[in-house]
Symmetry: C2
Subunit: 249 residues, 2 copies
DNA sequence: CGTCGGTTTGACACCGGTCAAGTGACGTGG
DNA sequence: CCACGTCACTTGACCGGTGTCAAACCGACG
């Protein structure tokens, strides 16, 4: 439990603790991580495609997207990062060029040196495991997206994304899964669902009868059940712990 | 370098060594992993969707696919595993139900207990890092697939997959990237590319002018360059080390 | 010779892309 | 306070890429 106002690194620690038990000493090591805060304006690339970095990037406030860019400039958003998420944690294990990171809204981030994270993982096996788990959770979401893009039509596809973001938002303490702020444009949601902006707009309307609306950057889902139904959404892949955060022995 | 006939676990070790340095002791620990071999027939599920397992699954011979299944029975293949690949390494970090594993051809696998792998990671920080890297490489491929499915048309999409499989086959020592055995049916390739079997067949034909053929389960690419071009294929995301395997200090 | 799984082909329907125009909210500068 | 530009969203008409359905083909194997 965070005692006072949560520092940015607390957010990250909390996320880890949701899935992995960590001792007091390990928790302090994480909270003591060196870092450099930065503010990024909407539509600005935090990391341009093809650039290697020496820092992971913790989202503190706002919304960040990782994307793959085609030769003709088309973008496919490959994952969203919410406050508390560490964007490039996997790049501690492997420096990963080839993807870009874009701030979708005014965003506050913390840059944390890869080297420090790697050192932590080396010194504390439980932290190593926690990082690995965290990366695995991201990978699990990626796998689901592959299924979503490959085998679902526009409406269930979008519905699935909105269910996912709702669940993640709620779990991050940023709203309820049936009503949350999603600071993205329709064009960006299109980039995430593999649709065009025009068709995303139309698809959004076909979801209206189900009580799904997206206005003023706010997603509202009147009735969770039916939407989950069309989306075939099963949150298991998010690997959320439902109960208390895991505790160290 | 494997000295004598490579044991199955050697395959796995080699794969790890391609990306991570490991000392003699660590290498021996991996080679000494408890395991249970098994043979699986084509089209048979190694792990049914929704089942949790206590074992990771090392492919020794053949081809395995991880897939996501929709309510109506449609499948989306989410990743392919070649000999030497550990199918569910990530599930050591998090037990991941929700996906199935299917043998595409007659396949030999080795089941390795999660617990033993976890123990190894706990005892050897370099092994932990190696596992993490390995998982990260898989995740990188997943991310690329998201881009591929979301923003490319059938022909470049399929071409991209064939380039990827070629590169991976070659690197696993199972052929050359321009000519390799891919023991999958067209329907299964369709499941991987998010197409229907019918359209996959047609798409295959549109690639013929580029010198791409798939007959008798063998992919042939007459001229690598132009195909890479239409596919927009850049192998960086495979995170292959081009030079010597990394060595421990 | 018959069966079966996999592949190939054709005709047709439909989902989603493309292009283009129009609306509405908001901020800026006159 | 209004004129204007910008950006996101909306709508319509049309087109093309894929899906669907159904039949035929083919090679492997009994």
């Amino acid at each position: 439990m965070p005692l006072s106002t949560p520092t940015p690194l607390q957010l990250f620690l909390n996320r880890l603790l949701r899935r992995s038990p960590l001792g007091r000493q390990e928790q302090e090591a994480i909270l003591g991580l060196r870092n450099r805060p930065a503010q990024v304006e909407p539509r600005q690339d935090i990391v341009s495609p093809g650039t290697a970095t020496a820092h992971a990037c913790l989202v503190v406030k706002g919304l960040v997207a990782r994307f793959d860019q085609m030769r003709d400039g088309k973008r496919q958003i490959v994952s969203f990062y919410l406050p508390g998420d560490m964007c490039d944690l996997h790049s501690v294990a492997v420096s990963t060029p080839g993807w870009g990171l874009e701030a979708l809204t005014t965003t506050t981030v913390l840059f944390v040196p890869h080297a420090d994270l790697a050192q932590l993982a080396q010194d504390h096996s439980r932290i190593a495991m926690a990082f690995w788990r965290d990366t695995t959770a991201d990978a699990s979401i990626l796998a689901k997206w592959v299924g979503n893009l490959g085998r679902r039509q526009a409406a269930p596809r979008l519905a699935h994304l909105l269910c996912e973001m709702g669940s993640r938002m709620e779990q991050a303490g940023l709203g309820s899964k049936t009503r949350y702020n999603l600071p993205a444009t329709q064009a960006q949601l299109a980039d995430a669902t593999g649709l065009t902006a025009v068709h995303l707009n139309r698809t959004l309307k076909t979801l209206a009868p189900y009580g799904v609306t997206f206005r003023a950057r706010t997603v509202r889902i009147e009735d969770w059940g039916p939407v989950v139904e069309v989306a075939e959404f099963d949150p298991a892949y998010l690997l959320l712990r439902t109960g208390e955060p895991a505790r160290a022995a």
